[in-house]
């Protein structure tokens, strides 16, 4: 396996363009959480011409709805949720400059095309490893939509948060390549 590439958001076009499928990346810095309900509201803001609860350009959205934090801890379990549910919203955010998404599972053609056109990357974290992923999260604060509970938008401060590049800006797809390599 290749060496880990260390990055700190916000990402620029050069950071994103250098990544290729299969690369292991570790993020240190701030990333934002968002699931279905939060995406629906963000996209409604675009339609209404209103400002966002955080600046989208260069940022990374982690598709996660964490479990509640015990006293003294920043967060509960926090692994990725399935990404296809955000497919109908993601291209609009990519167009506004979102540079990365972290989730699990394949994206649809529209999202892949938007990633190629506007330089964005799709990363996956290990689904079902919520306890392990939480160890890389040092701080969590709700920045919008507290009423959504686990689905609220949170700003996470992460250290060496491990992900793998699945879709790069050249239109490659690690899921497709992986299956081709190991199918019998």
């Amino acid at each position: 396996m290749n060496d880990v590439i260390r990055l700190t958001p916000p990402l620029n076009d050069a950071d994103v363009a250098s990544l290729k499928i299969g690369d292991r990346v570790a993020f240190t810095g701030a990333i934002y959480t968002g699931r279905d309900a939060a995406h629906k509201r963000l996209v409604e803001l675009i339609g209404a011409g209103k400002s966002f609860p955080f600046d989208i350009p260069g940022q990374i959205i982690y598709y996660v709805g964490p479990s509640p934090a015990r006293f003294g801890r920043p967060i509960g379990a926090a692994g990725p949720t399935t990404s296809y549910r955000m497919d109908s919203y993601a291209p609009q955010l990519i167009r506004l400059g979102l540079k990365g998404m972290i989730g699990k599972g394949a994206r649809n053609q529209e999202v892949k095309e938007a990633m190629v056109e506007f330089n964005a990357v799709y990363f996956v974290a290990i689904g079902g490893a919520g306890a392990l992923m939480a160890q890389a999260i040092k701080k969590a604060e709700v920045v919008a939509y507290e009423d959504l509970g686990p689905e609220a938008i949170r700003r996470l401060e992460v250290v060496e948060f491990p992900v793998i590049v699945v879709n790069d800006v050249r239109g490659n797809d690690l899921y497709e390549e992986g299956v081709k390599k190991y199918a019998r």
Binding site: M1, G22, D36, A37, V64, G65, P66, S67, P68, A69, R70, G76, A77, A78, G79, T81, T82, Y84, K104, G105, A106, V124, I126, G127, G128, A129, G130, A131, L132, A134, Q135, L148, G149, P150, I164, V166, L174, Y175, E177, G178, V179, K180, K181, Y182, A183, R184
Partner: protein, 279 residues
């Protein structure tokens, strides 16, 4: 008649909700260890090792294995010589779920289908009741996550397609699910019964310990053949390519209508959580 107070049921359900979500079964841990040896992909081996590490952290730190702590599915086998006292059994189970999800810092994941408003306490529970002989009450809590449940399907096949048609449906379901249900998965298959029974048979198949086979030799063979074919699809751990797409395939079967061949496929992620107590 033996009397059981429903307060006891509440306490047991509460504890089972918490324990199921933080303690992965030894059978799953053993299957993951074996899978590391069998996996060809270096990334796949790494993923499997991390899932074992995750289970250790969850157990030691009392943190959920997965943030999706599931819909609380409760299976009950109620002895017909048991008399339940002290109030409503259904209310007692829901109270157990409410307490377990609150006190165990588990995520509340039930909501209105359209408004998506969260019920706030992970109720209502899904309750499946079987009445059996004897004077004991067996309670199984099996929290079910949404990611793998979303990949599950029921179909009503034409009887003419036979066993091959069943196999084709199961394989296609796993192939189409890809990375979504967090492979390596456990695939529960229910064959026969009616529309709803096939789904329930599939779900009950997930409760069987990993490493066991159906007692019927024909179904044991079907389980082995399906498992081999699934692990030849190349999906692998987390769908990143590899050999171990599923840890096990479990099949349950019963009689069906002369016009029908119902098949349910219930996909379960590696966090195959279920704990039980017999009162």
């Amino acid at each position: 008649m033996r009397e059981i107070h429903v307060k006891e049921v509440t306490a047991v359900v509460r504890d089972l909700c918490i324990r199921a979500n933080t303690h992965l079964g030894e059978d799953v841990l053993e299957a993951l260890r074996k899978a590391i040896d069998q996996e060809d992909s270096p990334t796949g081996k790494d993923v499997l090792a991390k899932l074992l590490e995750n289970a250790r952290i969850a157990r030691e730190d009392s943190i959920p294995i997965c943030q999706d702590t599931g819909f609380a599915v409760v299976f009950m086998e109620l002895g017909q010589e048991v008399s339940l006292t002290g109030g409503s059994l259904k209310d007692a189970i829901n109270e157990g779920v409410r307490q377990g999800y609150q006190e165990g810092y588990l995520r509340k994941s039930t909501c209105h289908p359209f408004t998506r408003t969260n019920t706030g306490d992970n109720t209502p529970a899904i309750i499946h009741l079987d009445v059996v002989t004897g004077d004991s009450l067996r309670l199984i809590v099996a929290p079910k996550g949404g990611g793998s449940e979303n990949m599950s399907r029921v179909t009503m096949l034409t009887p003419a397609v036979g066993i091959q048609g069943v196999k084709d449906f199961v394989i296609q379901r796993v192939r189409d699910s890809g990375a979504n249900p967090c492979p390596p998965t456990i695939v529960g298959v229910g064959i026969g019964g009616t529309f709803e029974t096939s789904a329930l048979l599939a779900k009950k198949a997930l409760l069987r310990p990993l490493g066991s086979r159906n007692g019927d030799p024909e179904l044991a063979t079907l389980e082995r053949e399906l498992h081999e074919e699934i692990n030849g699809l190349g999906i692998g751990p987390q769908g990143l390519g590899g050999r171990i797409t599923s840890l096990a395939v479990h099949v349950n079967m019963m009689e069906c209508h002369i016009a029908s061949l119902p098949v349910g496929v219930n996909i379960q992620c590696h966090a195959a959580r279920h704990k039980e107590v017999v009162l």
